[in-house]
């Protein structure tokens, strides 16, 4: 479950090349993407899951924290999914509505995934672009730091961070985001190096555009394809990481929940006749991860077709 770095490099190289040839790679890519069945299916899934997260709450009869006392204590017999009592996905062990909780867990997991991936991509892109563009000693030092950071067992540090600062959403975003910007930084740096000596950059430099503006206005936009693909493929990894953190009991606070928390609760009780507690959250978790993979792969193939 790691992004294929080599393909990302190839993609980055092509994006830089295409821009210089003066024709946008995006128009062709859109056509290719819409023809890719798996990618379109993935996109549909993601749209549906997003709609579920946004509007699912409207359909819920119960809130995500109410206890249904008529079900509590006899969940295995009374708490099964049912239209009549409004528990479409059944209830959890305490008699809380699993539909409402899945909706709310979906929101958290998507949020963690997207914000985490966003942080990783922003930090990675800027870091890589600065290192590549400035070059020289700065580049050396910045990349040496990346080498060093790459050897740190991040999950361990993340556990320490959550233990130390207590558990909060912002810590989770930050901790998860900080895990994966290193690969991004390397790829971006490599492409920046090759972009740096192109005419349009040199022209900008000659006319006295400040370094920072060159990086943000001219270098980064040329990396947009890589950034988009990378971000799409990072989201599922972030969601997986969050689920692991939740499994360790370091995730979001009750009554809030996430897919990871719901799945790990459901997995504990899988043999007690309450299989729906595992099935529903796991279903959404799995299809969403697929969705992101298909869309990410499709996007990459569309932007970097092998039949060029």
């Amino acid at each position: 479950m790691v992004i294929d770095e080599r393909k990302m490099r190839s993609l980055a190289a092509r994006m830089a090349q295409a821009e210089v040839r003066g024709r946008s790679p995006w128009a062709d890519a859109r056509r290719r993407f819409f023809r890719n069945k798996a990618a379109m299916a993935g996109l549909m899934i993601l749209v549906l899951v997003a709609l579920f997260a946004i509007f699912g709450g409207q359909a819920a009869v119960w809130s995500n924290e109410e206890l249904d006392f008529s079900v509590m204590g006899q969940v295995a017999t009374m708490g099964a999914p049912s239209w009549s009592n409004g528990h479409y996905f059944g209830t959890d062990d305490l008699g809380r509505d699993l539909f409402a909780r899945t909706v709310q867990g979906t929101q958290i997991s998507l949020l963690v995934g997207i914000v985490g991936a966003g942080i990783a991509v922003i930090v990675g892109t800027l870091y890589g672009a600065v290192a590549g563009y400035v070059g020289g000693r700065t580049d050396q030092a910045m990349m040496r730091l990346v080498d060093i950071l790459m050897s740190i067992p991040y999950m361990f540090v993340l556990i320490l961070l959550l233990v130390m600062f207590g558990r909060s959403m912002s810590m989770l975003f930050l901790g998860i985001g900080l895990i994966s910007w290193l690969d991004m930084a390397r790829i971006v740096r490599g492409q920046t190096l090759s972009l740096k000596n192109r005419e349009f950059i040199e022209a900008a430099r000659a006319t006295g555009v400040p370094t920072w503006r060159i990086i943000t206005r001219h270098v980064v936009p040329n990396l947009l394809g890589v950034v988009a693909v990378y971000a799409t493929l990072l989201v599922p990894l972030m969601i997986l990481t969050e689920s692991f953190i939740s499994f360790l009991g370091l995730g979001v606070q009750e009554p809030l929940t996430s897919w990871g928390a719901l799945i790990s609760e459901g997995a504990g009780t899988m043999n007690y006749g309450t299989l729906w507690q595992l099935a529903f959250p796991l279903f959404f978790f799995v299809i969403t991860l697929f969705g992101f993979f298909f869309v990410g792969d499709g996007l990459r193939d569309a932007l970097d077709p092998k039949d060029r």
Partner: protein
């Protein structure tokens, strides 16, 4: 009179043949006498001076033996001490030791106890349970722990090899009951000095219990086998006892059902189903621990909780019946007193709250909150802190929902155990979940907690309560004092008492002799035997 009676009763017991653990008529012993039980976590240490947890004590009770043991009902029975006498002022106990041996064949002497106890209080040992000897009121324990006196000044002396004398600073009604605690077990001086910290490892460890350590794979399993040198070895049927670590209770239950374990805890909420499916295996035994939500009434605590009406309202509003009957579902009992209901000699006071129905309680809670100035237009906002655990989480969520209709908005704050403890000890909380387990089978082990000088992390303080507890230390009849103390707790509500524990287990019916009436749940595998199917 009563102390004389105790002593004679003990002596009388000794004239009978040692308590025989023989199969009843019609039972056939299984060929393989092994007992395998579940451990939630790794055994941290096998050093009696350093052990701090229940799982560790369970193993130590097999591998070592103290002056006293606990019988199947929790009554004290002789261990290494054959008999004892108590001086008239209750300050000196003299124990006569039996002819017992260490597993390497050396005799167990009074000097071994002296060494062990001195080692516990010695600052160099840095024992986390050194306070236990303070609790026992052994002379000079406090000063030695503080480093003000050398360890050899401890009030314990070997009169000769078979006679041990203990001097106390105050009459201590529960003193004898502390003697089955692992902290008081003897240790072999020679072995400890020879191997230092590594003396408890398999191959090095020498004990005086009915079993001896065979192997210990940290976090995997620990195996003890019958000790032929044990003084009562002739009556020990069980050959091998194995504790198997399974970090996940649900997996442990699966492995029990697959026949890998003989005893395992039942996860919360699963008792009704399992006792239906396996009526001969699911057991629920009262267990001397109480669960509470402690209020922080110190200066650092919220203003609202200093109002006794608010505390009473929160206590009234918590639907304990639902917690016990619909969440835990394992034979636990709703708590309206701090002391566990099954503690020996404890009589719970008749409190108003215990007699009401939940509707009446909720009604009164609303009234009290309104009186205190809280209501829909001025909601009460508090934080409930609990440490990471599936059951604590469930209860906290339920509590939040019970208090919500009263206009109390609870924020749940789940932190890990170390942070929880740290914050409680620094009064850095509004309400915190807490549980206390008895160190010995007497009400003071619970009630001491709320003394001004007690552990009492909510910093509640009451002069009459302190006085009652002080009096109880020397009183001939403590029951009325404890009863009055509980009345004060019920009135002042320094904490919401939630429920009294039960130990809810699956137990293989082929294993016999497992005690089901001892509220401390101390068990001795020497009393177990396994029958053939």
């Amino acid at each position: 009179m009563s102390k004389l009676f105790t002593t004679t009763a003990l002596l009388a017991a000794l004239t009978l043949p040692a308590q025989a653990v023989q199969p009843a008529a019609g039972e056939t012993l299984a060929d393989s006498q092994t007992y395998t039980y579940w451990l939630l976590d790794a055994i941290k240490t096998l050093d009696p001076a350093k052990n701090t947890d229940v799982e560790g004590s369970d193993v130590l009770r097999q591998v070592f033996e103290g002056l006293m043991n606990e019988g199947p009902t929790g009554a004290m029975v002789p261990g290494v001490a054959e008999s004892h006498t108590e001086s008239d002022d209750g300050l000196t106990y003299t124990f006569t030791l039996r002819d017992a041996r260490w597993s390497n064949g050396d005799p167990v002497t009074a000097q071994d106890f002296v060494y062990a106890w001195q080692r516990v209080v010695n600052p160099e040992t840095a024992s986390e349970y050194a306070w236990f000897l303070e609790l026992m009121n052994v002379q000079n324990a406090t000063q030695i722990i503080a480093g003000d006196l050398p360890p050899d000044q401890l009030g314990v002396r070997a009169v000769d090899d078979r006679t041990l004398e203990v001097r106390l600073t105050a009459r201590t009604p529960y003193f004898l009951k502390t003697l089955s605690h692992a902290t008081t077990f003897p240790v072999p001086q020679k072995v400890v000095e020879q191997h230092s910290d590594a003396w408890t490892q398999p191959g090095n460890l020498v004990g005086n219990g009915a079993f001896t350590l065979q192997s210990h794979n940290l976090g995997v399993d620990i195996t003890v086998v019958k000790n032929p040198e044990y003084w009562d070895a002739a009556n020990v049927v069980m050959q091998t006892v194995r504790g198997v670590t399974v970090n996940d209770n649900n997996i442990a239950l699966t492995r029990y059902l697959a026949g890998e374990l003989d005893r395992v805890q039942i996860p919360a909420g699963q008792y009704p189903r399992l006792s239906g499916d396996y009526p001969d295996q699911a057991v629920s035994i009262p267990y001397a621990c109480s669960y509470a939500y402690v209020f922080n009434v110190s200066d650092k605590g919220p203003e609202a909780l200093k109002d006794v009406r608010v505390r009473q309202a929160l206590s009234l509003g918590l639907n304990r019946d639902i917690i016990v009957d619909q969440v835990l579902q394992g034979g636990q009992k709703p708590a309206y007193s701090w002391t566990h209901w099954a503690i020996e000699g404890f009589q719970a006071p008749d409190t108003e709250i215990a007699a009401m129905t939940q509707e009446q309680r909720t009604e009164k809670a609303r009234a009290l909150l309104t009186e205190a100035g809280y209501g829909p237009d001025k909601p009460l906002a508090l934080t409930l802190q609990y440490n990471t655990d599936e059951n604590h989480k469930k209860l906290a969520i339920a509590a939040q929902q019970f208090w919500k209709p009263l206009g109390v908005n609870i924020t749940l704050n789940n932190v890990e155990w170390k942070v929880h403890t740290d914050r409680m000890q620094n009064q850095d909380f509004d309400m915190a979940r807490y549980a206390w387990c008895a160190d010995y089978n007497e009400a003071s082990t619970f009630l001491d907690w709320f003394r001004t000088e007690g552990y009492n992390s909510g910093k509640w303080s009451n002069a009459e309560y302190d006085k009652l507890m002080a009096e109880s230390k020397t009183a001939a009849d403590t029951a009325p004092l404890y009863k009055r103390a509980e009345e004060i707790l019920a009135q002042e509500v320094p904490a919401v008492f939630v429920y009294h524990y039960a130990k809810v287990d699956m137990l293989n019916p082929a294993v016999k002799g497992v005690p089901t009436e001892n509220v401390t749940n101390a068990w001795y595998a020497k009393d177990f035997y396994r029958v053939a199917d």
